[in-house]
Every structure is written in C-alpha cells, then in structure tokens.
Amino acid sequence: MAVEKRVRFQSWWLPWVLIAPQMAIVLVFFFWPAGQAIYQSVLTQDAFGTSTEFVGLLNFTRLWSDQTYLSSFWTTAVFSVLVAGIGLAVALLLAVMADRVIKGAAFYKTLLIWPYAVAPAVAGVLFLFMFAPSVGVVSYGLRYLGVDWNHLLDDDHAMALIVMAAVWNQISYNFLFFLAGLQSIPKSLIEAAAIDGARPWRRFWTIVFPLLSPVTFFLLVINIVYAFFNTFGIVDTATQGGPGKATSILVYRLYYDGFKALDLGGSAAQSVVLMVIVITLTVIQFRYVEKKVQY
C-alpha cells in the first residue's frame, strides 16, 4: 500500500451510475429473496396461501424446542467438516500429482475436472447405485473385505455415503484452483530449496503449502458454504435424511419442510437460521483464519 492509486471522479453521480447495475443485481437476487425469507419466517400459511397469520417468533421457538432439529446441527457440523476436510486434502493431493505429470497432462486433468459437470442429485444417485446393499458394485466388493455395507440401517455408512458423494462432486472445483495455485508458484524457489538439499516432502510443507494458503483459505470458505447449502440434492436422492435422522443436515431439513411438507413458515425460519450461521462462519473465517494467510 505504498503508492496511493485512487481514481478521483469529476462528477459525484458517475460512480453511482457505474455501480448501479451491480447493485441492482445484488438487490434483486440477494437482498430481496433474503428479505422475503425473513418476512415468511414470522408467518404461518396454509399450503395454498389462502390464509396467512402473523405468528411472531413461533416458527423459531418451535425449532428450538424440536430435539431432532437441534441434533441436526451436530449432524451438519460433522458433515461439513468431513466434506471440506477430505475434499481439500484429496484435491490437493491430486493437484500436486497432476502438476508433476508431463505426458498426457491435459487428458489427465480433463478427467479430474469432469465430475463437476454432474448435478449433485445425479451424484447422489450414482453413489446410491454403487453402494446399494448386496447388489451395488462397491458394496459387493466390500463384502469380500468383511464389511457388511448397509447404509439403509447403519448411521455411519449413510453418513460416509453422502460425504463421499459430496466430496466427489466438489473435488474438481478444488482441484482446478489448487492446480492454478501450484502453477503460479515460481519454479526458482523450489529449485533453490532443492539445491539447498530439501527433500520433496520438506519443500512441499515449507514452500509450496504456505504459498498456496490464499487458495486454500478461499476454498475452505467455498467448501463450507457448499456443504451447508448445495448438498440437499445428494441427501435427497441417496438417503432422504435416514436412517432415522442420521443424515438429515440442516439444508435437507429445510428443503423437506418447505417443498415436501409444504410448511413455508417453518422452512423460512430455518433458512434464516442457516443464513445467520453461514454469515457468522464467514466472518470468523475472514477475521481469524485470514490473518494466518500469507498473500
């Protein structure tokens, strides 16, 4: 920030005009729906909206008194940490490996980017087929290893199933960013370290990984948001929140209450809660985690 590069406008209105299209998009597509959600959350309506009643915070107090809702916070926490953690680790490993490939690199990279084109709901179905108890390809193989796979009745198996589908679906995105990050690291730094006698493992942790930290941080935020918001399709097709409520994460529950059970007020209240959680998480990440990031 040594040199100040501020552009000064001659007229007071020009900056407002220039920013207006962006503001319009933000207002129409972000603030207006968010406002609608908050408004809906203090109402109860019948399914067709023929009768509407203002109920204050009833929708929220109902949530807090519902034991199954409170426990789905824990489910969501486990799910998001697993999805973000495994997703980032595997993608980083793949990116480091792909970065070293010389022959057929484009082919290899294309294959790794493919899964991103698959819709979450379809990813859920794919994994459902592979892991179908007793007939799925993978569960058939697992039986030989002595694992009796049954995500229909085993909580941990069900959680593992949706985590795998969610990670697989997001890995290409993470991979792309990691690969771009790796390629922007100057080769001279790594070569210098190599000349000083640092082994690959040490070179990675002391040079590559710190230099990747902005990318890692960005992906951490994106992955948490992904796990929180974009995974209901996977849950809906793979487990429907079961067995019991073992995989009923917050966003799935919101989807179920709104679109299957037609309880719009309750669903809106949940989306407000979810909105608050993600805002808080993002603020925490930017205030505390970002300080450890070296740009």
Binding site: A47, L152, Q240, G241, P243, Y256, F259, A261, L262
Partner: protein, 437 residues
C-alpha cells in the same frame, strides 16, 4: 421451481390466446403419471377430445406427486393454477383444509347439470374423498391398495407350494425360513412401511391407526398405533429382521425393484405393482391377500387405499367447470372405467365397471387381479373406512425414521412406536391449530 412456474405461465398464456381462435374451452390437467401410466392418461384425454368438440382436456406431466403438488401451489399463488390437479392420498387432508383453493367435485357436477350419483362409485374408495357432510370433494381417479406379491419360482425352489401362498403372518415367517434355508438372501421385504405395516395393518385387523375414525371424523384425531397388537406385529417383523427373514430395502417404493429383480421373494406393496411385474419380472409370480393374525377377532376386515384423486381448483370460468364436469362424467362411464382398471391394475372407479370386468371373465383369465378389489369391496367399519390425517406426509416420514431405528436395533419396538406416536401427534396438533378457522 422458477423454470416450472415459467413453463406454467407460458402454458396458461398460450391457452388464453389460443382458446378464442378454436372456440373450444381448454381444461388443464396436471398429473404425475410417468411412462406407461402417462400414456394411459394421454389416451384418456385424446379419446375424450375426439368424442366431443366443446372442450379440450390438456394433460401435463408435472413430475412426482409431491412435485406436481408444489408446482400447483406455486401456480395457484400466482393465479395460474390448472383446472384439474392429481393429488396423492396423503395430500387429501391438506387439500380439504384449503377451502378457498378447491371446488368440491360434487358441486362442480351439480352446477354443470351433469347427472351425478355418488352411490355409483366404489364406497371404500369414494368414501375416502367425501366430506363428513356427504359431499364428494375429489374424483377417485387412480386408487390402489396394498397386497402380497410372491415369487412362485422361488417358492418351488424352496419346496413350498407355489399355488398356496401364506395368508397369515405365522405362515409368512415359516415360508421365509424355508426360503432362507434354500439360500434366498431376501425372503421378505416391504414397500411403504407406514402404509402397509401400520395403516393397512390397522384397517385389516379392524383396529384404529388414529382416533376419531382415523381422522375421518375430525381434525382433532390422535395417533394410536402403539397398541399391543401393533407392538406385537412390529416386534414380529423386528425378530424376522434379526434372523435375516425380513430385509429392509428403504423408504417409499424402493423395495418394489428388489422384487422385480428376483432379489426378494415376497413383498407387501401396492396392487399397482402388477403392471410392472408383468413387464419386468423374469419369473412366475402370484398375488395374494395381505397377511393377518388369525387369532385377532374381526380380521381380516378391509385394506385402505393409496394412489391419487383429481381435485378441481378454484377461480376458473363457469364454462371451464362444465368442461371439467363433462370429463369426469366421461371417466365414470362403465366402459371407460373398466378399461382403465384392466389396463393399470388400479381399482375400478364405479361398481358397474367392476361388475362388467367380472362378467367379461377378466379376473378368471388373470388370477390375482381381483385380490385388490375383494380386499376393498367390503362393508367397511368406522375403524377401517380410511385414514385421513393432516400433515400426513410428515407423519409417514416420522414413521419411516422410527421404524428404521427399530430394524437396526437402536430402539426397542416400544420406544420406536411410542416416539413415532408422540412426534406424529405434534404434527396433528399443529395441523389442527393451523386449520381451525
């Protein structure tokens, strides 16, 4: 959702512009009948449209039952609802409570001057869609009921008589044990856990699933399926699950496919599975009545319906309602109703269509197709007439969740059913409070 409402908007706009040119009144019909059943729906509309020129019925496939209901709700809120909406049976109480959104079928027929006799319809079916004051609210279009399907080839291989299916639960357990001994990995499974093992089970044994005649007599009903008889039955199934005689295959109709593929040898599921079994199964199969406990007095009584009915949405023009009435009249014609019944495996709509099918010898030529009819066409009692509850979609999910925890052994049968009842009752209380006015 956005795309859907856009499509429906353009459809309605299209209808508005094209109607005067053709001088024909269009009737929009949103349904949830895929593939073979979708062809059936289209054929009905085509036949009706060719037989008269005043009205034109336009069927539109809107996805699964819950998807088309959500789409219709969004369309209604923006003033673009269809004239006719197909709604599954668990949505019935929601539709009944939405008084401003629907027009009772009885009123539509009366206003249009169609001769309309509610007594012509099969009572166990029509009764479900009739208000306490005797007015028919929706048109009983496609109704099914749970029956017992079994794999005759697997029976033979296990040394069981393929022409003598088990009719009681003790017999089912014995047959399952023999099937397992012959190497079968999945002797018995079930679709729609709540519908087959608790709802129909209750009516079949003439006990209440919920108070107030299973909610038919008022919205202050509460669940009662944790009675000793229910506990005994679920306990029995849980024991079968422990021994590998009953294998859980998932919620909804997920288990259907495991029967078609031959993986599971016996299944309790919808009578409408018949068409798919005929098309997909590579083995001989049979249909039998739902099993029961022979020592329970009054069993077997009758089973309850599933499937869907047609609702008429409010806010349309009088001549459009005349078109709806004419179409319903067409669907009730004996020839049409009998042909539909034979084609789909759904229950016959009218008594006359059942008698015609019977006289034509259809049931003799296709053994088993009459099981669903004979299970339904009986004198019903207050406890067996049907189950009509508010927030039924949520209650079924709650039952699924609790049953899963029983099958996996995480909860005892009593804990599971008690919890399902108390969580379900919360949903009922909420529905009652929301729909007082």
């Amino acid at each position: 959702m956005k795309l859907k409402s856009l499509v429906s908007c353009s459809l309605v706009a299209f209808a508005a512009f094209s109607a005067p040119a053709q001088a024909q009144v269009e009737v929009q019909w949103w349904h949830s009948m895929p593939t073979a059943l979708g062809e059936w729906v289209n054929d009905l509309a085509k036949d009706f449209n060719s037989k008269q020129k005043a009205y034109k019925v336009v069927p539109v496939f809107k996805g699964s039952y819950d998807e088309s209901m959500t789409a219709a709700i969004a369309a209604f809120r923006s003033g673009n609802a269809p004239h006719i909406l197909q709604v599954f049976e668990v949505g019935t109480a929601t539709m009944m409570a939405s008084k401003g959104a629907i027009v009772p079928v009885g009123k539509v027929m009366q206003d249009a001057g169609q001769k309309f006799d509610p007594k012509a319809y099969v009572p166990a079916v029509a009764g479900y869609y009739t208000a306490p004051n005797g007015q028919m609210l929706s048109f009983p279009f496609n109704s099914s009921t749970p029956v017992f399907h079994y794999n005759k080839d697997a029976f033979k291989a296990a040394g069981l008589d393929p022409e003598k299916p088990p009719t009681t639960w003790p017999e089912v357990t014995l047959a399952a044990a023999k099937l397992k001994a012959s190497g079968h990995k999945c002797p018995f499974t079930t679709s729609w856990g709540s519908w087959t093992q608790l709802e129909s089970f209750s009516a079949w044994h003439n006990v209440e699933f919920a108070s107030k005649g299973n909610g038919m007599r008022g919205s202050d009903a509460r669940l009662t399926f944790n009675s000793p008889l229910h506990l005994r039955h679920i306990e029995n199934l849980a024991n079968m699950a422990k021994q590998g005689l009953f294998v859980y295959k998932g919620r909804g109709n997920a288990a259907d496919a495991t029967f078609y593929s031959g993986e599971c040898a016996m299944v309790t599921g919808s009578s409408a599975m018949y068409a798919n079994i005929k098309r997909n199964a590579k083995f001989a199969s049979g249909i039998s009545t739902l099993p029961y406990y022979p020592d329970v007095q009054g069993a077997p009584q009758n089973t309850v319906i599933g499937g869907a009915s047609l609702w008429v949405m409010s806010g349309k023009k009088p001549e459009e309602y005349k078109g709806v009435a004419a179409f319903f009249d067409y669907l009730s014609q004996t020839d049409v109703a009998a042909a539909s019944h034979k084609r789909t495996g759904y229950l016959p709509v009218t008594i006359a269509s059942f008698e015609q099918t019977d006289k034509a010898g259809f049931y003799k030529e296709n053994p088993g197709t009459d099981v669903s009819v004979t299970q339904m066409i009986r004198k019903t009692t207050d406890k067996s007439r049907g189950i009509r509850l508010g927030n039924f979609v949520q209650i079924r999910t709650i039952v699924d969740e609790e049953l899963e925890q029983i099958w996996s052994g995480k909860k005892t049968v009593k804990e599971g059913l008690d919890s399902a009842v108390s969580r379900g009752n919360e949903q009922l209380a909420r529905f009652e409070a929301a729909n007082k006015g």
